[in-house]
């Protein structure tokens, strides 16, 4: 008695992309969940080994997801460079890192703003997005587009950065930092926001480890995992990377971890801009990718994993993408049981889910 089946998705205003949960609720308490995650399946992995040559791959994988397009492209580029034994110079590394971190900032701000939106805090959403526009401006100036950067190419980056842009970026980052601190304060201390987020969707450290969560979700539960520290692909430690941890494991902690990382990233970006090494922005490329390689990179949502395999042809043999949301879906499903329907949106979006790469 009292059963109401509530669908959440695939088209739902709180969701930017198609994913659907079918909740069975009683008095708005969720008693059963069914999840459908395959809406965005387009067949990218197959296309990557039939339709696209390896030189085109960064452009394709960037479109796995628009939010961390840069990490996907970066992962493929890194993998292929390994397979082809290309060494890039420091300047390229630094430029890549700069865009990766800027991307993380914009993605995290978006995620946090979206959480604010779905808990019904429209103004906080607006203020968060207002702050985000600064980093979008920087990204647009550096890469030429607001969302899809297409910045990393095999053996370098697509374009160099001149000092004018660097100055512009520094100025904007400074403003951004002020704004972020302000917005963070709202997230941190707001009472009603706390009511909707604190103690909601709690993941303990044990749970996080058991379900192999990734990224800010794991770090908000105190699980110290971050690919930037676990895998050498770019010299993050050189520019001041520090792992950010929280222990509460709830929606609020996930937001706060993201804010901590934003601040850390801003610092890293400033360091990069101040110490940009001289050099060419691309190096010569020869040969064809051959062999197999695994690549792990830290996307804004957590560990992004690539498995690449080539056999010296133009087209790769296997491109396997495993994205952070893919790793987080199993625990997400567990979290719903016993939660209120009115908290479900915040729980979903605190994971900052990215279905388009989960289903590829």
């Amino acid at each position: 008695m009292g059963k109401i089946i509530v669908p959440f998705g695939s088209q739902h205003i709180a969701l930017p992309e198609p994913i659907s949960f079918l909740f069975e609720t009683e008095n708005e308490i969720i008693t059963k969940v069914e999840a459908h995650i395959g809406y965005v399946h387009r067949g990218i992995e197959k296309a990557a080994i039939t339709k696209f040559e390896y030189t085109q791959l960064p452009y394709l994988t960037a479109r796995v997801c628009g939010l961390c397009s840069i990490t996907h492209a970066g992962a493929v580029v890194h993998g292929i460079e390994k397979l082809m034994d290309i060494e890039v110079n420091k300047r390229i590394d630094y430029l890549r890192m700069l865009v990766v971190e800027l991307d993380r900032i914009h993605s995290h701000l978006l995620a946090n703003g979206h959480v604010a939106e779905v808990v019904g805090y429209e103004n906080l959403f607006m203020q968060t997005f207002r702050a985000r526009e600064d980093v979008m401006d920087v990204l647009e100036a550096i890469t030429g587009n607001r969302v899809q950067y297409d910045y990393q190419t095999i053996g370098g980056v697509a374009r160099d950065m001149d000092s004018e842009i660097a100055e512009f970026a520094k100025k904007k980052l400074k403003k951004l930092k002020d704004n972020v601190l302000k917005v963070m304060e709202f997230h941190d201390s707001d009472y009603t926001f706390g009511l909707k987020t604190k103690g909601i969707g709690v993941i303990s450290k044990e749970m996080a480890a058991k379900y192999n969560t990734a990224g800010p979700v794991a770090r908000a539960s105190g699980l110290d995992t971050d690919v930037r520290a676990e895998f050498d692909y770019l010299p993050f430690e050189e520019v001041g990377y520090k792992m950010q941890l929280r222990s509460e494991g709830d929606v609020w902690a996930r937001n706060m971890v993201r804010f901590d990382e934003i601040l850390n990233s801003i610092e890293m970006c400033e360091n990069i801009l101040n110490n940009l090494p001289e050099g060419e922005y691309k190096v010569k490329v020869k040969g064809r990718p051959k062999g197999e390689v695994v690549v792990r990179v830290e996307a804004p949502r957590g560990e992004c994993f690539y498995y690449l395999r080539g056999s010296g042809k133009k087209v790769m043999d296997r491109v396997r993408i495993r994205v952070p949301t893919y790793a987080n879906i199993p625990i997400l499903k567990e979290l719903f049981l016993g939660a209120k329907y009115s908290d479900a949106q915040a729980i979903v979006l605190s994971f900052d889910p990215c279905m388009s790469c989960t289903a590829r």
Binding site: I4, V6, G120, Y121, Q127, T192, L195, K196, S342, Q345
Partner: protein, 276 residues
């Protein structure tokens, strides 16, 4: 006379208030916001849509909501007994709830049930407020209240505060916009309405603005400037609150109303009864 005009033109004035609100809200978010007359543009647009519906009952209830809301306002302004006006408002809620429950859409049904939670939160408080005004003025008659020579607000500060905090419940504003809850149930009771039928609901909401702010106005007694001041204050306060809070759970709303607002108002009334 003025109340006849106000009643007849209520949708118009309500639309203007709503328009102002949208602009103010946008400004509070550092946006430009829509033009002032936006609600009327929406109104005309909706009238111009090809009507679609789920079934006639549902569509009809939307229209009945509008009529009942208007009628309730008429009773408030043209009748003389405030208490009756409060109970008339329930008819509007009834048609809204029946309409929303009559479609097999989970969001609409949840919205209807949440609307009931709204009612349980604000209705007793409205009764209490009317009784409190009676205690001060000695009459349930709106005309007597409006010609009362004192300052009801001075004697009923807590009742006023309690009512101020119930306005978000009645007007579906954050933190108590649980029945509308855009990101959860996408408008709740109104989700299945479209075109002209939705327009009825939309306009009904405007009338509710007038209905609610009339009650605020009463706290000024015969000092109309004070009443107007209170209305402006309430309007700003409600909007600021709307913009600075997240939506709460409906359970919390009911608890807040019953655990805090009603005792506070009752306390005020008891004090008053003891000293009068």
């Amino acid at each position: 006379m003025i109340n006849v005009i106000l009643t007849i033109l209520a949708p118009f004035f309500g639309g203007i208030v709503y328009g102002i609100e949208r602009v103010v809200k946008a400004r509070m978010q550092r946006r430009v916001g829509p033009p002032l007359m936006q609600p009327f543009y929406d109104f005309f647009k909706l009238m111009d849509k090809r009507p679609i519906m789920i079934h006639s009952l549902h569509a009809l209830m939307g229209i009945m909501y509008f009529i009942a809301e208007w009628f309730a306002l008429g009773v408030l302004l043209l009748g003389n007994d405030l208490l009756i006006a409060v109970f008339f408002h329930v008819i509007a809620v009834l048609s809204l709830v029946v309409g929303a429950s009559s479609v097999r859409s989970p969001y609409s049904v949840l919205g209807a049930l949440r609307e009931l939670m709204h009612m349980i939160s604000y209705e007793p408080l409205m009764v209490l407020m009317v009784v409190a005004l009676y205690l001060v003025v000695g009459s349930f008659d709106i005309k007597d209240i409006l010609s009362y020579d004192g300052y009801p607000i001075l004697k009923l500060p807590f009742v006023f505060i309690a009512f101020l905090l119930t306005i978000p419940m009645m007007l579906q504003k954050s933190p108590f916009d649980v029945a509308e809850a855009h990101q959860e149930i996408i408008g709740g009771p109104e989700i299945e309405y479209s075109g002209p039928f939705y327009e009825a609901l939309y306009t009904g909401k405007w009338i509710e603005y007038i209905y609610v702010f009339t009650f605020v106005f009463l706290f000024g007694g015969s000092h109309y400037w004070l009443g107007a001041l209170l209305v402006i204050f309430a309007f700003l306060f409600v909007n600021l609150l709307d913009n600075s809070t997240a939506r709460l759970d409906f359970r919390r709303m009911v608890k807040f109303a019953w655990g805090f607002l009603i005792p506070m108002a009752a306390f005020n009334v008891i004090l008053l009864a003891l000293f009068e």
